[in-house]
């Protein structure tokens, strides 16, 4: 439960982490019909100038939503989300979706909160930086 009255810029969300490889990507491909060679085959990844097969940007996108939903619970909703796919998600990386409060704006029926969100690998290198706005109920 988020204590809205004590919320402040700089507060960090508990990260959402997953070790990523074909067992994760194949499951996502199955629900999103995303059987794209660079997500399925190291050779196809290398042919595209990448170190090997890479994870789906859409799955990074889902993880960014997961970290925010994990924090919000039933207490609010996601209003906006954006991210850029700066670095590929490689096999066996542990990807963490993270978030940090950057701005709090009280309104008549709740609070609008801006967050910096991003995914990073196990060494802290950012993969997909972005931003999110949520509405928190009072």
């Amino acid at each position: 439960m988020i204590d809205v009255s004590s919320l402040k810029a700089g507060d960090e969300l508990e990260p959402f982490s997953r070790t990523t490889d074909f067992h994760v990507w194949n499951r996502y491909a199955a629900v999103n019909d995303e059987y794209v060679p660079i997500h399925m085959d190291d050779e196809a990844g290398r042919a595209a100038g990448l170190p090997g097969a890479i994870g789906m940007g859409n799955l990074q996108w889902a993880y960014l939503h997961n970290v925010v939903r994990q924090w919000l619970g039933d207490q609010g909703r996601i209003v906006k989300m954006s991210c850029q796919f700066r670095n590929p998600n490689l096999r066996n990386q542990t990807v963490s979706a993270c978030g940090r409060v950057t701005r709090i704006e009280p309104g008549p029926d709740g609070v609008e909160v801006d967050l910096e969100v991003w995914t990073q690998d196990q060494d802290g290198h950012k993969l997909a930086p972005g931003a999110c706005t949520v509405h928190l109920d009072r």
Partner: protein, 179 residues
Amino acid sequence: MADAAEGQTRTAISADMQKVVGSELSRMVSYPISESDVRKWALAIYYPEEPPARFWDQDAAAGSPAGGIVAPEDFNPFAWLRAQPRGVSRSSAATDADSTERSLGIEGPHLMNQLNGGVSVEYGAPMRPGDVITSVTRLGQYSEREGSLGLMLFTPMETTWTNQGGEMVKRQTLVLIRY
């Protein structure tokens, strides 16, 4: 890709490509969203841990502020098969870097590779089981620059989803990077 004379900047954006900016690229209608679709989606994006109960447990969801199961915001109701256009579509869009322009009847930029460069979404009404979603995508304004992979062409795809009640579900801009 358009050739550049000596001293000129090379470009991947042809005159024909400029003319089709703003054109409708696709219009799709989903089948009604099923609880099973939502459950499987949630399992995939939270794997290997159990997803939140509100995505798969009717009893838990009924007691939530949403009053029932809702789909995760990132859920895609158009995967695999759509009600319109009908039939199985084995699109080459994921592997053919010219497919965007080909779908509009013009030559593409003839770049070899493509990646999802980023996405920005504003959310409206949540998606619930039984909802039928209509998606309309338009081609945004091209831009380009030299990058680590050579000439990089940025193509925004502007998409709006609405539900059967005409409510906005989401407005999305996805930037396709071709190089």
